[in-house]
């Protein structure tokens, strides 16, 4: 990003610090709207002063202090409103601070509030991106292909529920943590996939989503270093992201076996491999750790032929034991095709009830092709093309269909 425009630099820092600033203000004032308004006012002050005076040494601290002062001024000025706010104090923190408990970073509390199971899944995603990621409502609406008013209503409704139902602002107790953490990780992974698998829409905004998800993943990892699924999810995201640029060539999807492995990001792969080793050593494998391990095996092979399919199939078996789903079985069948041949794999694929899923049709098409059954492969490619909106994927499938043996 070029930062000749000083406002651009201020806005970048503001967005990076937004989650920390808002989380701290929510704890202090017990009100998300007050926190957001005050953070917005601090940005106005920063845009006035920083270009002239320079960026302060601790911009996050400066923004939090400035926003806090603004919020206090406002509450004092509007003492009537202050009373109203006190009456409707929206977020309760009545738990005594436990020094032995998990790290009480304000952002960690806030992400558990945003990803509370009592909120609709799409609202969890939107709130997390708004409050932790600092994305504007317009940006979130654009990324999820809904009108801005719809997204604004979704966020407003969720904030109202947090207030009215007294959804707490705290890290869940240890016995709830695993289940509640699952909801948080699901939100982060959904944000990542929304960016990575971008089915349509404006590319740049959606690619920002993968970067945002990785940033949230790193944040969670620093806040909950002892949770292996947190490390697993981060590993999964960086190992997937490492292959991004090799995944599409000339507007066409490139399957992993044909990807230019020289184009993979070696730094991200090294980071992912370290994370996978570290989390698996804890001995509590979960779905993100296993998916990350599968990606680690793929990215470990110098070329497609050297892929350790036996290990991949074994990892999918383990994954199926933890998270039994037909999609996992489908991916396992791809490994089976490499080990036991396409006929065995096709029999497994045909047993799965996934007729609405484009990857099921695409996998069938490829297996039929390898078996020389072009007449059956052709309609399978057609079904796969009809079931996806992704232009790169459609381009790839169309070419494959066109190059079938007669």
């Amino acid at each position: 990003m070029s930062e000749r425009d000083p406002h651009e630099a201020v806005e970048r820092i503001y967005r990076e610090e937004y989650g920390r600033v808002v989380a701290s203000l929510v704890r202090r004032f017990g009100d998300i709207d007050v926190a957001e308004e005050a953070a917005g006012e601090a940005l106005v002050v920063a845009l006035e002063r920083w270009p002239a005076d320079g960026v302060p040494p601790n911009p996050g601290g400066w923004l939090t202090t400035t926003a806090g002062n603004r919020a206090l001024d406002r509450l004092r000025r509007e003492s009537r409103r202050d009373a109203k706010h006190q009456a409707a104090l929206m977020i309760h923190d009545e738990t005594p601070h436990e020094p032995t408990g998990p790290v009480e970073d304000d952002r960690l509390r806030l992400i558990f509030t945003c990803c509370h199971p009592a909120l609709a899944p799409e609202a969890r995603v939107a709130l997390t991106l708004r409050l932790l990621g600092g994305l504007t409502v317009a940006e979130i609406a654009q990324a999820f292909l809904v009108p801005e008013t719809t997204m604004a209503q979704r966020i407003t409704r969720a904030k109202r529920k947090i207030r009215d139902a007294h959804i707490p602002y705290r890290v869940p107790a240890a016995d709830d943590l695993t289940a509640r953490l699952g909801a948080v990780l699901a939100v982060v992974y959904l944000v990542f996939n929304e960016g990575y698998l971008a089915s349509s829409g404006e590319r740049s905004i959606r690619e920002d989503l993968t970067a945002e998800a990785i940033r949230l993943g790193r944040l969670l990892r620093s806040l909950l270093p002892g949770e292996p699924e947190v490390a697993g999810l981060l590993a999964l995201m960086v190992l997937t992201e490492a292959r991004r640029t090799a995944r599409v060539a000339a507007g066409e999807l490139v399957p992993m076996r044909d990807q230019d492995r020289g184009g993979w990001d070696r730094e991200l792969i090294a980071e992912g491999h370290d994370l996978v080793r570290e989390c698996l050593a804890v001995g509590r494998p979960g779905q993100y750790q296993l998916l990350a391990a599968i990606n680690a095996v793929h990215t470990d092979a110098p070329d497609a032929a050297a892929t350790d399919w036996r290990q991949i199939a074994a990892l999918y078996d383990q994954l199926y034991a933890v998270a039994p789903s037909p999609v996992v079985a489908l991916n396992r069948a791809v490994a089976v095709a490499e080990l036991d041949g396409p006929a065995v794999a096709l029999a497994e694929v045909d047993r799965l009830d996934l007729t609405a899923y484009h990857a099921w049709h695409a996998t069938r098409a490829e297996l039929l092709r390898r078996l020389g059954r072009s007449a059956e492969a052709r309609p399978a490619y057609d079904a796969a093309i009809a079931a996806t909106d992704n232009p790169a994927e459609r381009a790839y499938l169309s070419r494959r269909r066109g190059s079938l043996a007669p």
Partner: protein, 122 residues
């Protein structure tokens, strides 16, 4: 502390099934609910609770106009209606949800958790 309504809905099918049950068959359910109520009282979460008579016993009263209009039955026909409820005190939604999970198990029915409006401060 806030108050929450834990509502248990019933349907025609539920009411029909219950009317087929003998007192002996109902007994474990009553006991489970009573044990849950005792826990609510012991923890200071109890405000009020009760089970309602079947939907057929409802009378609707409308005094929104000039005169009182009394009609048999509920105001709106629906597939599900309130069958029983608890009103509890809880520090936040997480605590209310934990009580709801226990209550759902005790009464063998789905529980809807809904916050009461906060009382305006004097």
């Amino acid at each position: 502390m806030s108050q929450y309504l834990l509502a248990v809905n019933g349907s025609a099918a539920d009411e029909a099934a219950q009317s087929q049950m003998t007192m002996e068959e109902m007994q474990p359910l009553f006991e489970a609910v009573e044990r849950f109520n005792e826990r609510l009282r012991a923890e200071g979460a109890w405000v009020f609770a009760g089970g309602l008579q079947p939907i057929g016993s409802t009378t609707t009263v409308d005094h929104t106009g000039g005169e009182v209009i009394i009609t048999d039955g509920p105001f709106a026909e629906s597939k599900e209606w309130l069958g029983g409820f608890w009103v509890i005190e809880a520090p936040d939604l997480d605590a209310a949800l934990r009580w709801a999970a226990e209550g759902s198990k005790a009464c063998a029915g789905r529980v809807e958790v809904r916050p009461f409006q906060d009382e305006p401060e004097a």
